[in-house]
């Protein structure tokens, strides 16, 4: 198996609970991978292991051929794998611009803390990159707004823009459209996917809305009970009745469960 991100026999157990079992996935560069599955299927556990938030019980994770299994999340970020969060992790007492500038300044600086203590936050480079990122993610009009008062969609975009600072090669988005109204979802994903394509970033995104997955993913990984039960192009995978039933329940309930997540 080869690819920018290769996962081999990945397993995670919490006591007797198996949150991930024998996951084998290879993601080639620039692929857009949708991760689907019911709540508790192991999607976020998978994301957490790749980004170093959780240490796998077994198995290896290779990034660009390099073993990153069990490394702390800050090292993995420095190597080039970033993530956004289901609940946006932004600095709520700062403005949108300050949030973005912190992300770009950290990404540009050396990872030595003492160097960071001697480098000013606002350098021409960090400011220009922050401005460019706000434009790219279409949130520049909010630059002076406190992050605490942002509409949910903008906060999601800011969270993703901050994760994408410093040109990561792989970006994992955990439910980028959760908490967003149905009318806004496609607009948000259009902006995000265009921006990430522009930056040539490989994307893995967790998503409950199958229309979103179908529209944006090149490939779908379906999780059930900690295991990958289907892996293929969206049309093939999503049409599989077994997958539909396992992931979304009987067809009638699909909109109901979808709106509960919204």
């Amino acid at each position: 198996m080869s690819g920018i991100l290769v996962v081999r026999d990945l397993q995670k157990t919490f006591g007797s609970l198996v949150a991930a079992r024998d996951i084998n996935v290879a993601v080639p560069p620039l692929q857009i991978v949708g991760i689907i599955g019911a709540n508790g299927a192991g999607k976020t556990t998978f994301v957490n292991m790749i980004t170093g938030h959780l240490r796998p019980t077994k198995g290896t994770i290779l990034f660009d051929g390099r073993d990153i299994t069990g490394r702390p999340s800050r090292d993995i970020t420095r190597l080039g794998i970033a993530r956004s969060f289901q609940v946006p992790q932004v600095f709520t007492s700062l403005t949108v611009f300050e949030n973005m500038c912190i992300a770009t300044a950290i990404a540009r600086a050396s990872d030595r803390l003492l160097a960071q203590a001697l480098t000013p936050l606002h350098s021409p480079g960090s400011v220009a990159e922050a401005e460019a990122a706000l434009e790219l993610f279409r949130i520049a009009t909010y630059r002076r707004t406190l992050a605490a008062t942002l509409p949910q969609g903008v906060r999601k975009l800011l969270d993703i823009a901050m994760a994408a600072a410093g040109a990561p090669r792989v970006l994992l988005l955990d439910e980028p459209t959760s908490g967003i109204s149905i009318e806004e979802k496609f607009g948000l994903m259009d902006v995000v996917m265009a921006a990430l394509k522009n930056r040539r970033i490989t994307v893995l995104f967790v998503e409950h809305d199958m229309d979103i997955v179908e529209r944006y993913a090149d490939r779908v990984l379906a999780f059930c009970d900690g295991a990958v039960i289907a892996d293929g192009p969206p049309i093939v995978t999503l049409e599989n009745p077994r997958i539909q039933e396992l992931i979304s329940g009987p067809k009638l309930n699909m909109t109901a469960s979808g709106s509960r997540h919204a």
């Binding site: 800050r74 090292d75 709520t92 700062l94 936050l121």
Partner: protein
């Protein structure tokens, strides 16, 4: 390009230094102690910005003070700069060691753990005869690069030395507040997870802030020991730490200058209250803090910020 408040602050310090010889001795002496203590407060401001309130900062204050006192007592070293440098190194080391434990805790756990560590030092000082026990001991007047001032000149030299350390510390801390690491204090309060996923080790960052704050407290303690000419275990007691927190609340975390103004106002209030209400001076101080919290919830520093803000808007508006 130095920011305007920094220039204003430095000019204010120079003005204070220039008029000092004409001021009454009691006021210069009070200001020397107030500004020495302001260095501790400056360190607390660094920690407070990330939501940490140490109730044991007197630990490092006492380490600095005792370092100076013990050196004048047991060695021939008298030079003020050497004494203070030694105090700074020792308190830095103490903060570095304590930091391995403290940097892992937040909120009340951090506050209580820091208090506990400082009370250990208090216990050691009280029980150890060679360290002066409960009475402490006197501190010999220092020399300045070989110059040994006489009479009033002694106090003035010391005051100028305190001001010089304040100026340098204020300058360095303001620079730090504009650096990447220094700006991350507020983000630490908002989302440690995001910081970790941006590639920052939050515990290392807090450890660095603890070392900076501890070193400032040690220098403050050294200068206070030289100003008071005496050290005793009360310098490490939790009420001393509480006093520094009091001044930090009074000053607010908004500006570097507030630490100095806040500390001076506190010492002044304390001595006025002590003079006029010897038995009940704490009530006076308590009322002052209450009024500050009610009417200036962000401390004295917010007054400066209020003056500064409209001017800032003008300059950014003028830029093309």
């Amino acid at each position: 390009m130095a920011p305007r408040p920094l220039i204003t602050g430095m000019l204010a310090l120079l003005a204070v230094a220039a008029v000092a010889p004409t001021l009454p001795v009691w006021l210069v002496s009070l200001a020397a102690i107030a500004f020495a203590n302001a260095l501790v407060v400056l360190g607390l401001i660094i920690l407070w910005r990330s939501g940490l309130v140490p109730f044991g900062q007197a630990l490092f204050y006492a380490v600095g003070a005792y370092a100076v006192a013990l050196m004048t007592r047991y060695t021939g070293v008298r030079d003020a700069l050497v004494l203070i440098a030694a105090a700074a190194v020792l308190s830095c080391l103490a903060a570095f060691l304590a930091g391995f434990l403290l940097a892992r805790y937040r909120e009340i756990f951090f506050a209580m753990l820091s208090l506990a560590i400082s009370m250990i030092l208090y216990g050691v000082l009280v029980k150890t005869e060679t360290l002066g026990s409960t009475d402490g001991f006197g501190v010999e007047p220092p020399t300045y690069l070989g110059y040994a001032p006489q009479g009033n000149m002694h106090l003035l030299m010391l005051f100028w030395l305190v001001l010089a350390f304040c100026a340098v510390s204020a300058l360095l801390v303001s620079l730090y507040f504009h650096s990447i690491a220094g700006t991350l204090a507020v983000p630490v309060r908002d989302s440690e997870i995001r910081l970790e996923f941006l590639g920052i080790s939050v515990s290392r960052l807090i450890h660095l802030n603890l070392v900076i704050a501890g070193t400032l407290a040690g220098i403050g303690g050294a200068l206070a020991a030289l100003s008071i000419e005496h050290v005793d275990p009360n310098m490490s007691y939790w009420t001393t730490s509480g006093g520094f927190v009091f001044v930090t609340v009074l000053a607010g975390a908004g500006s570097v200058a507030a630490a100095f103004v806040g500390s001076f106002v506190f010492e002044l209030l304390k001595s006025i209250a002590y003079d006029s209400l010897p038995g009940t001076w704490q009530i006076f101080l308590g009322a002052a803090l209450l009024l500050t919290i009610l009417f200036l919830p962000e401390g004295i520093g917010s007054v400066f910020a209020r003056f500064r803000r409209p001017r800032k808007r003008e300059t950014t508006g003028a830029r093309p």
